[in-house]
Symmetry: C2
Subunit: 352 residues, 2 copies
DNA sequence: TATCGTAAGTAAATCGTTTTACTAGATAGA
DNA sequence: TCTATCTAGTAAAACGATTTACTTACGATA
């Protein structure tokens, strides 16, 4: 029996605002302990009779009791929250990876905080710090250099740095280069131009390098004049447009372009069209990523597909597993996923 | 002077893990009170001599002390976190609004939790609940129906429901319809087809209605046979493609299409091309939104621009202001932003 | 009749901060 | 010398939950 009946407070159903466990307990004339044990279906609640349990559940329902997650997190020393760091949100690429991350986390009732670094050095340092202060349990970095010391596990999607404790999820780039160049070679292309990514993109070096290696292997000579580096920060096709313009200005003939990604491929196609060159009749253009826009561009893009959604999902899964099995922490430092050649309409047989 | 020298613990600099205020205080032989006052530069710390302050700052630096945000939030009864609810992340639309939200929040060191509802009823209820349990201070809903009772202020971007406490950020749709139809009329179009949005899109009804009203005003008759509703959940141009196919199948001539949005416009263009109709020579296509892809599609899209980034920023600003000035809570229930006609290459003079 | 076990709970510690109210000692003023 | 003020702090409560270790009353058993 409740010993302190006089302390009992009769709650008025609040139209707004929330009820705490303490208030609910006072209303019922019970201790917070009992309510907590019952509401969380703790095995320690066996000795509480069903009648009391029912009263508790009913009151919780009636007053719409919601446990305060912050209090719970503090006590449990867990936040059930990840941090995600992206270059910026609206580039198509990050959003698809994020989608994969979310799909896995949502199933476990985890949430995530997103922070964009916009390629700025200060944010590359500050964002992870702030995420860690907010007690995220793990960090997913997407196409982002790791410039911080972390107290939590990290998976870097498209990361290539070898950092202890950081797992990289990467594409099989060798295979990607092979798929792309074989496709172009089979179509009879011999003069192939290449768009190299911006310096800040994690994949820039490896992608370029594997393309050059594969070209050599396939006895395709890539003329240095036909290599253009993308310049600019915005995730707009404009950077591909500008680079393609420079290629054309160099006045060295080529029949195919291996673009850094779909966005720059789309920009390049615009430049070619303005120069009265038809894609794919005069020039074949090969993209990379297979973002949403690729399939419905005109012409639709032949591209090397990266399984972006799956890469995000894999990153989240890996981190969740690591949280559950800390022992296996450093088992696997790199996770590789496979690319796929998606043939559409932007590539065709080389002229003559 | 510290009275309990014997309790002092000498911390070993931890290679990993974090130091709590308590540990740091013990190491310095001071109370957590003093450290807290000093580190937070509280005015109550005036009586602490500079020398002691220096010791505190130095130790905090040395051991890389980071206050635990969860503990701080619990105490302050503030989370400095927003919740954002979107249909799904990778549709181009949500990402741009989100970008605007983030740009405002980041400046104030706020973060946000994102949840996608995928148009599923259960998630439309559960997601907001979970966000509120996690003590978000406000919610930004993007193109999402409000199906929950909220304990925190809400701004609904593209929301049209009249709910107490919910501020809607909406486009001036009347103006948008006017801009679009005047443009098409000026180009001589008389048979205009319309793509109506899916039922789940917040803007579907108002956009369709204002277009019909404006058409009447401008004496443009819109043939009911030339109205097609989009069907399907994915944010893919395919739904526009399918709808345009149906329009063509109806075999009623038209020279222009007012699409529901850019994504569906892109799909429709593909359908027209397959039917050997040139855009814009045979058919003009008018998009809506001005997503990134619009400018670089081929042909580039003439479209009614929604200032999506600004709408997100406005939503975040409004909520922050509301948190600071609770009195003005219900002052403004609707915030309207202006559309802009962006003329590009997908529209042209009507044939003959 | 003493004691044991069980049913039905509860008190208090804890998580890591912040903040209010306080204290002990030193100095200054009357 | 006595009081008031200042200096340099500190103790303890609070935020809202969870969890460990207890208590009390009652019925059954030896």
């Amino acid at each position: 029996m409740p010993s302190k009946k006089e302390k009992q407070i009769l709650l008025v159903k609040p139209a707004t605002g929330t009820v705490s466990l303490k208030e609910l307990a006072q209303h019922l004339g019970l201790s917070t302990t009992s309510l907590s044990l019952v509401l969380n279906r703790s095995p320690a609640a066996t000795s509480i009779p069903q009648e009391t349990k029912d009263r508790i559940f009913q009151a919780a329902e009636e007053f719409n009791y919601r446990p305060n997650y912050i209090a719970r997190s503090l006590r449990a020393q867990r936040s059930f929250t990840f941090g995600v760091i992206v270059p910026e949100l609206s580039d198509g690429y990050s959003a698809m990876v994020l989608n994969g991350v979310e799909s896995v986390l949502a199933r476990r009732d985890f949430f995530y905080l997103t922070a964009s670094h916009l390629h700025r050095d200060d944010l590359l340092e500050k964002n992870p710090q702030m995420l860690m202060e907010r007690q995220v349990e793990a960090i997913v970095a997407i196409d982002t250099p790791i410039r911080f010391h972390s107290t939590v596990p990290i998976v870097n999607v498209s990361g290539h740095e070898d950092i202890p404790g950081v797992t990289n999820v990467i594409l099989n780039h060798k295979k990607a280069a092979e798929l792309g160049l074989k496709h172009l070679k089979l179509l009879g292309h011999k003069q192939i131009a290449v768009l190299k990514g911006q310096a800040f993109s994690s994949d820039t070096d490896i992608r370029f390098q594997t393309i050059m290696e594969e070209a050599e292997k396939q006895k395709i000579r890539i003329d240095p004049v036909l290599i253009q580096q993308l310049e600019g920060e915005l995730p707009s096709p404009e950077i591909g447009y500008n680079a393609a313009k420079k290629l054309l200005a160099a006045n060295r003939p080529f029949t195919a372009l291996f673009a850094f990604n779909d966005v720059s491929a789309i920009g390049a196609i615009r430049a070619f069209r303005e120069a009265k060159m038809n894609v794919p009749k005069d020039i074949s253009v090969l993209g990379f990523d297979d973002i949403y826009a690729a399939a419905y561009h005109n012409p639709s893009l032949t591209t090397i597909r990266q399984p972006l959604f799956e890469m995000g999902a894999l990153a989240a899964k890996t981190l969740l597993r690591r949280l559950n099995e800390p022992s296996k922490a450093r088992q696997q430092e790199t996770l590789t996923v496979e690319p796929q050649l998606i043939v559409r309409q932007s590539t065709a047989k080389a002229k003559n």
